[in-house]
Symmetry: C2
């Protein structure tokens, strides 16, 4: 490829709206152009990277007996009504009417399409297990797309679905996908990623894992134990807390606290040791039913984990409006709280056995001090609805936990029979009885993987692509391309490299060496090969490696084997 | 791949709704499943074929310096408003509102997206010419999808866009794409296809060609001269007609024709020689404006070509309703026709100089006989709005024309500056002045190409895939796979073939040989390899070729080179 014809202008200035390194450099290198909010066009270099990532994914999926299929982008409403997702998914799901006034959606994930294909097609246990997958465009109408290809509305995704007779068989296969994903991310050149337990969210099911690239720009919080290796998405992370110190019960007393509504104000007003000597009330509404309030009580120094709470109330929740309730914001407490059929009360485990804490008095400007659970209010059942905090103890080994940020680069779910049951997929077992197959589903976003690698590997000068997914292996850089000898020799080398399967981008422009080197660095091509008068006199070429900046000369006639070796060594390092 | 795990059940019965051979066999072979009207899931074998077709297309596009990009499936309304297509395209274009109440569409073709990418990115004539392309899912809300993958609503398409400084440069590149397409269709194994002149339709522009697979099931009519090689889509085909025989003018006379409204009834009623002695009136409405009528007059034995008419009135037309007009259906004629501002009258060339013909009298139950153009009615201007009929003379060489049916498998257009002008793409020329680049666009549907090959090559037993796109090269067919020796030997051969890059589908089922052979034939795998006790005793395997039915034995130890040779020879034949 000649750079003079390459569509996608390089630029020296960082776009003002670029939030992340990957975003800024991929724009500056001319790898993509925004068409609409969260909707991008990829130019040739980015598409070449995407194709290489897709090939790696395809190879690994085929190695674990995946069958590549192609499901439709547009799905009929009926299909998602069978699973209940037509109603349960929010505005992320694009719904539209076709010319015959029928409702359709743009597929976000394809569990329903996978079951549609498999039901009636697969009828015997002997055909199980199997896995079907596709690599395809998806659309999710995200409220906040950001960061270039990190969070978009339209994206290419590999989604896979496996079907099993037993939970045991699913678990066996799930482990194979688990390992396959690690291989995939290593092969595309990612380094600092981990696998964490996660929430299965809108997919249904129970056990799930996410692959996280650790990076400060990540939107996800990950709880990590550096001692035993426990890793979990904050959404489902758990910890062990110190036992409550025993102390004598003090008499409960109502006190005037005036305008003190926030925990910090109450603590200051009453001169308490710290937030842990209070009981915090947090209120949510059930989405779509503003009358129904979910009232959570949690120790004052802890935060409510909304993902955990959602799983308990089994409904989507939104920040509360207290207008239609009898609750008094800032003074809510469990002592003397009136029953209300529109009120669901959830106690965090941290509330059990609390002694001598400050709680709201359910009366404006008043709190109780020295409230004790078991004496002043009694709770039957508590749940884990608290967020893990850095420094808390690992529930496995007791070491202190740390919290890091990560980008989700892949996810795997054990789905159970949620879809095969609702969509009535029946398979005959050995004895002739029918059962609903147990499913797993497995996703990787291609564009996000590309942006994540860019985020991890760039330096001050631009992108640094791993050899396995680089748009081209070599950036061929003649100094003075308009000189007849240089011109001829460069074209000869270009031809030789191409004929030997080495992918070359030739900088055929009449610009300064510095300009060319800067573009090569910006675009992140792994091997720069310089052709110059001086080098030709010695029958040599200069190689510089993008990542290490290592630079050395090579005799012209050994350029092909040398570059081949660099490519091979470099790809081997990832495995 | 093991057939026991392959998702996609083979079936012996032809589905009742399958209209075409390709449709029926691809359903029976389990290659696809319908999700909704015109929307399909492809199973593994079909996806493998599609992938191979895509690879061939990609290779050929890269050979003519194509830059693979990826445009979005979802496009914002603004973009199509710039070109005017948001309004001009009908219900085929899916429009929907996103969560922020913004209008979007599902891309049908990507001229606007291509210009969006190129404008401001490409700024100098030195960067021209270039071609960008993508292979991607598209959605067109067709009113009548049918025939399996032949006419669908969602499909994978390769669409390419080239940009040029001069018309001459476009034409030079257009010729390269023209040839490239022939190579592509040959490489995927198509035989009986031709290139015809075509209408550029909603794309704009003037010169256009279509690649047509000749087949009786084709929806397009193609006019062909077997002498000089003239080939044209009926929509734009022209012919030479015999001069009108000279005859004496007879006096015009109004006659009672009662209920005779159709040409045939009038001819019978008045005992005319044939339809050519009448003048036919055909009425259309302008789409979206039911008051505006387009009234066409054409010699009674000819038909109106709606595509030609649309180009003349420069509006979309629909069959007329005469309710709101003063026209009297069945008795419309040019003699004494009242002027009406809502009426556009178009005369076909065939009307000029007509003598002694029957025309409607614009009065219920009456016609004129012996009406003569130039005496009883005078026309200023005539147009070619007639359909070519078989047997008419070629406009180039005068030989008789024939008409065949075809499926459009590809198309290429010279677009001109329709998009670069409306979307304001400016490039600087050598002298520093700006110009709008001249564009070409080029499309191939992947699914339709696959179905077309199936249509052309199937036989009574099923599909017959060309080697270059076959889902697997070899169908490995052990007789009595549960026999220990057969089992072991078959797996050994399976492994050897796979390790040598030969793609194998292993029939590992415990079913009869006839059952296996039938499935192999139905699925159309090119090479069947049989393993049996008898053959093993001789250290041989049996090969049968799907297409020719040729059958012969091969020593086991030469199976790899033999199959390699068959594959190579077979792929070479296509080129």
């Amino acid at each position: 490829m000649l750079i003079s014809k390459l569509v996608g202008e390089r630029s020296k200035t960082t776009p003002s709206d670029a939030q992340f390194t990957s975003h800024a450099f991929m724009l500056r290198a001319g790898f993509m152009k925004q068409v609409s909010n969260g909707i991008w066009t990829l130019t040739m270099p980015a598409k070449r990277i995407a194709n290489k990532i897709e090939t790696i994914i395809r190879e690994e999926m085929d190695l674990i007996e995946g069958q590549e299929c192609l499901f439709p982008v547009v799905l009929p409403r009926d299909l998602l009504e069978e699973s209940g997702r037509y109603e349960s998914i929010g505005l992320e799901l694009v719904r539209f009417k076709d010319r015959n006034n029928r409702d359709n959606v743009l597929g976000m994930t394809h569990e329903e399409a996978a079951v549609h294909l498999a039901r009636n097609t697969v009828s015997s246990y002997q055909q199980l297990p199997f896995m079907i997958y596709q690599i395809q465009a998806k659309f999710r109408d995200e409220a906040r797309s950001r960061g270039g290809l990190i969070r978009v509305r339209e994206f290419t995704m590999k989604d896979a679905y496996s079907f099993h007779e037993t939970q045991e068989d699913l678990e066996k296969y799930y482990k194979r996908v688990y390992d396959s994903y690690i291989k995939i991310f290593k092969r595309i050149g990612m380094k600092n990623f981990i696998v964490v337990q996660s929430d299965s969210g809108m997919m249904g099911g129970s056990i799930a894992h996410e692959y996280m690239l650790l990076t400060p720009i990540g939107e996800d919080s990950i709880v990590i134990c550096n001692n035993c290796g426990y890793k979990s998405n904050m959404e489902v992370a758990i910890s062990k807390r110190d036992e409550i110190e025993d102390e004598d019960l003090q008499p409960i007393e109502k006190v005037y606290t005036g305008d003190a509504k926030e925990i910090s104000e109450v603590v200051e007003n009453l001169k308490l040791k710290d937030n842990s000597k209070t009981l915090k009330a947090v209120v949510f509404n059930i989405k779509g039913d503003l009358k129904a309030n979910v009232l959570c009580f949690i120790r004052g120094d802890l935060e409510v984990n909304e993902a955990k709470l959602k799983k308990i109330v089994k409904k989507d929740i939104v920040p509360a409006s207290l207008e239609d309730s009898n609750l008094i914001a800032g003074n809510i407490g469990p002592v003397g709280l009136k029953e209300d059929k529109n009120l669901i009360i959830v106690y965090d485990n941290s509330v059990k056995g609390l002694k001598n804490v400050v709680v709201g008095a359910n009366e404006n400007e008043y709190h109780f001090i020295n409230a004790c659970e078991g004496r002043d209010f009694v709770i039957d059942k508590t749940y884990d609805i608290s967020k893990v905090q850095a420094g808390e103890k690992c529930s496995v080994c007791g070491s202190p936990l740390s919290i890091e940020n990560g980008i989700e680069i892949g996810n795997i779910f054990q789905l159970g029979t949620r879809y095969t049951e609702t969509m009535n997929m029946n398979v005959l077992d050995k004895t002739g009885k029918t059962f609903h197959p147990i499913m797993g589903c497995y996703g990787i976003g291609v564009g996000r993987a590309m942006a994540s690698v860019a985020e991890e590997k760039s330096d001050d000068f631009g992108l640094v692509w791993p050899m396995s997914i680089a748009p081209w292996h070599v950036y061929l850089c003649p100094i003075k391309f308009n000189d007849a000898e240089i011109h001829a020799k460069t074209l000869e080398i270009y031809k030789t490299l191409n004929e030997n399967g080495i992918e070359v981008l030739l900088d055929d422009r009449d610009v300064s060496p510095g300009f060319k080197f800067a573009d090569c660095d910006l675009m992140g091509i792994p091997i720069r090969v310089v052709v110059s008068k001086k080098l030709l006199e010695k029958n040599e070429l200069e190689i510089q490696l993008r990542e290490t900046k290592e630079r050395f000369n090579v005799p012209i006639n050994s350029i092909v084997p040398k570059i081949r070796q660099i490519i091979e060594d470099s790809i081997k390092t990832n495995d």
